[in-house]
Symmetry: D2
Subunit: 368 residues, 4 copies
């Protein structure tokens, strides 16, 4: 309610600022008995953390997570799991010049109007750094989903600026700095990003996140539709400006006879629905696509105003991602996993007694 | 939590099925003192209701709303406002054939898997008919926003199938059956829809919803971002498959130097942000765009399965919208108004004491 | 959040005023498949309704409930169940004199200060009449609990004013107008209430509510403790001023060696805990006791002020219960049932996979 | 929802176990601009902490709180305030013997049944140690209430076992180990507690908590009544078995002509209401009374069962409070302060625009 808690039954409450002493979250509602250790969370944190290549911010954070509660003798106990990450490389001096002005595209202005004051160091609460605890929380959800239903969640880059990235294989995604599912395009991306970084500018991106082996029946018919909660989760990620489920905006020009996925005895004939029909999961892959705006912090001079309303010019130095979309891939995966686990718990609360004589339709083939 | 309540502080709890005795909602949390009567709600209900032209479903519903509580001597009293709409033209026989099978693109299959049974009459709970109470609730929010802040919310059609609708004027929107902001294109739309209806098929659409004169400071930095809540609200509307805020998917190919709206002493230089920066309203127009899939109920034969899993063919007769996007315009307006009013209440709860020496930036010009 | 919704996963949203056109509620989150009809709800409504004896208010309300949604072919469908009760005997003229003044002990003053205006007719939203929809909702919870776990909930009167009512038998409770579990004391109660009514005064009462065969494990260790949620539910009933679980205030003078219920292989040795240990149900009977203040509306003259703050005198005519505690018995049962069902759903959401080799302790004997 | 978050708009999410590495909480929703430092929180933590006299547990915890976020340059920034307390003196070996059995009166049995496993060290999540973060959170609420409305919250002991403690003066409360508002009775209490400690037994207590200068209008007419939320908060404190507001159980034997507090131009004539009428604060002192059961951990042998259901005997050594009621005073104050601040925010969200020509009634005199 106060804006720092995510989820209905699986609730993640997040705290921290970019340059404060620590960031973290409390994950409440996780079922007991899941084996869990820091080593389950670290891999996704490492995928998201800064400084992993020259194409992302050079801030040095080890992003080591500490589990403070909720795990006893290696298993979740059903009590809240508190996760703590200490901030290490917080160069606040970079931001001294920004106290009195507002970076275009940033939350600086709106934050100041809302609260009357703001922590200007690294974006304070508005920093994408606050997604790190969500990635750790999402790793718990991923593990629980995988062990309970065989559900897996993964993401990849679809486009950076004008460069579309044809999907080739999930295997490539972890082999390059861009989460690109295509080895052949990496050199072109590297070149483009190098030029962009030198120019001092930034660029947008388009991501895709997919969940496989999702149980049928998650969601609700009216509000708390599964796709509505996914849209909420995705649009809540820093810099996201658009969300699509399944055919998304392509459905504008489709006919009903094209869009509606036919049901065959061996599965759905297509997946324009993106795995959600009437707000409820169909058992098909959940398909989500995101538009991410270009990083707002750029070295080029931009016109702005100061706190008295007078005209000024802002140049942002400090260390920034030339394309914030890159590091968003593990974040989007985490948020999708959190939504799915939350809805799995909600679903069994109400419908644990529902029985069917016939097994649900299988997904015909994993979406490529 | 159980999926039928929308909002944080302004909460709308919705009930009903397409062919049950009645539909309606309870609007809780409205401030006291607002003048309110059924006549404030009926105009938007009439804009949404079926049967207003040959281009929408021919079901005959007067959609007369009755206020059952929460208004005393013509003013809201601060207590929950219950709204009741009786269903009148529920031809259940149209649906008898559908009990045992699943219409492609519909919630039939997922609903049955989730709950073990379903009301097949008119889509039951999954019918777009359940948006009528939201339109009535939204009319309350619109009125409160207008009287409190001068905020207005309006929507229009941007595209139907392949026909893009160039924006000319808000004045045109209420003068045609398509909510098209362009008089010149109406004949082409009529012709296209007539052909479509005869063919038995349906088509998708793209809508735009805008809020003007929104107070700065609504939203939150992490979760419950204003744009995240808008995405949740919009993706929750029946048949919506994509949501954009501001530049939306165009931001994928933008550079940071293009996207970030500069701040000038007389206002923002652009509105790629769509009125939201870092999850908080900037005072610019809130700009939202939606993709709506083609109606799933079409007369053309589609392959499906029955409840035993065997192959069958479905043809949907009954009365349906050839383009559900048309009637979605007042629905999207209502949902946006509800989100804004909810966030206005949330904002003043926490920040009622924040004072500024300088007035917020003005919107430079109303977005066309 | 806005104050008219009760419960976490099983949510009841209530609307209406004492003298408005109707009262009712929406029950959301009920599992599908429960057989349900108005006839399941009416008996408890009839136990609560006014005019059943000379010892309660003479207002004539049939309190006929109509199910508007959520039930299809005689079974709950998993969608919200809307319940409507039309007000019939609303003599608003009785209250005309009260618009400008405040009845001592009533919400008149506080309501006016909070909202700036109030519906003075019959207490408006603050009337105990608004418990009728909760009794109907509670009847759904009772039925689901009974069919799912064999859980039953019942209440009885323990004391009216100075007259303590020794417990003899549950069988007597429905045989007299006072819900007294003791036939021998009924004449004394009738005589006392007759004298009280003639005097124009009113009196307090003490109730007991018990749940038998409650599953072990409902509740949570910190907040949303089962007993905390029960206390919330009970203190929320009109006129309740005190709540006890198990030994309640008697535990103040107990020693640890007396209070802590020993565990024996065939069950707990006692029930000072009232069925809740550490916020979680133990499988013992849930034992709750309530203090209900005397009716605030009395015929005797009381000093008060008017809206300008000047001294005045109030006498309340109209039709009132000389002891509001009497009709509170079915209300308290309903609220306890709602809390238990809500927690049963919450429990299985998180802990559906927990398995035990050993059956839980049996309750040794039903509490008398 | 998942049971570790307290409050509606001011939300405190708590984590930790008695013998884990740390405990703490996240306080979300605090308005910006409040001056805040650890030194504002430490005094109440010190009042609650163990080892302050021979009459409480001898566990040695400094309970030093660290603010991890939400405060910038000495003022709250409107973002979540994370509070961390490291556990220092966790002698887990004391509990090794308890893994396989269940202490009477404790959550051991119910916790094990619910979650299938439990952390037996010091009660794990069920330990009263988890109230420390709430005391710190409550200190924030106390400060905000005092600075915003002049509201103060304080508590005192009313009775320990058979020894009633007549109220003399608030000034005495902080001068003795028992929070007794009466200097003359301290020797008797010391003597009784010394004997009790030697005997290995424990005893119950009765506390009182009062809030002065509470704004009129906090609460709601139906659910989320101010007194219902107070009852929830108080019954949620470890070992509480009963809650009273105002006259509480005394109202059972009162007549309406005695109980209903008359309104006079200079204030209410009495405070049987305990400051709440119809669920809404009246501006009178909020008066709450609590029954606290005797500590369940005692050195005397008690019958119990082991995890296989076989009979056994339990003696609890380790370090325990002979009367847990003593340290509950600052806890109850904190919980009352949190409820009041939460409702103050809720109230202004909905009713910020309500205006009155006449000032509210003054409290006639501070309750003694």
């Amino acid at each position: 309610m106060a804006g720092s808690t995510f989820g209905h039954l699986l609730q993640v409450t997040n705290f921290g600022e970019s340059h404060g002493p620590a960031i973290g979250c409390i994950v409440d509602g996780c079922p007991p008995g899941l084996t869990l250790a820091e080593s389950d969370l670290q891999p996704d944190l490492d995928r998201r953390k800064p400084g992993t290549s020259r194409h992302v911010t050079q801030r040095r954070e080890s992003d080591r997570v500490e589990i403070l509660s909720g795990v006893f003798e290696g298993r979740t106990s059903g009590t809240p799991i508190a996760l703590l990450i200490r901030n290490e490389d917080a160069r606040s001096s970079d931001y001294a010049a920004l106290v009195d002005t507002f970076r275009p595209g940033h939350a600086d202005y709106t934050y100041w109007r809302k609260y009357g004051a703001r922590d200007p160091r690294g974006g304070g609460r508005s920093s994408a750094r606050l997604t790190a605890p969500m990635v750790a929380a999402g790793a718990i959800a991923k593990k629980w989903l995988r062990e309970t239903y065989g559900t897996t969640v993964r993401g990849c880059m679809q486009q950076i600026g004008e460069i579309a990235i044809p999907f080739e294989s999930w295997d490539e995604v972890e082999r390059n700095a861009f989460f690109a599912p295509n080895a052949g395009i990496v050199a072109e991306l590297e070149d483009a990003l190098d030029r962009l970084r030198k120019s001092g500018d930034s660029v947008g991106a388009r991501l895709r996140v997919v969940a496989h082996e999702v149980p049928v029946g998650l969601g609700a018919p009216l509000f708390d539709k599964l796709d509505a909660d996914i849209a909420y989760a995705m649009m809540g990620i820093n810099a996201v400006k658009g969300v699509e489920i399944g055919a998304g905006f392509r459905s504008v020009t489709q006919l009903g006879s094209q869009h509606g996925d036919e049901l065959l005895p061996d599965g759905f004939a297509g997946n324009n629905a993106g795995g959600v029909l009437g707000g409820i999961s169909s058992g098909q892959d959940i398909e989500v696509s995101l538009a991410i705006k270009p990083t707002s912090s750029i070295r080029l001079p931009r016109r702005s105003i100061d706190r008295s309303g007078a005209a000024t010019v802002v140049e942002t130095h400090g260390r920034h991602d030339p394309c914030v979309g890159i590091r968003a891939t593990p974040i989007a995966e985490a948020m999708l996993a959190l939504v799915l686990m939350d809805h799995a718990l909600l679903h069994r609360a109400q419908n644990a007694d529902v029985r069917h004589a016939v097994a649900p339709l299988k997904a015909r083939s994993k979406s490529a």
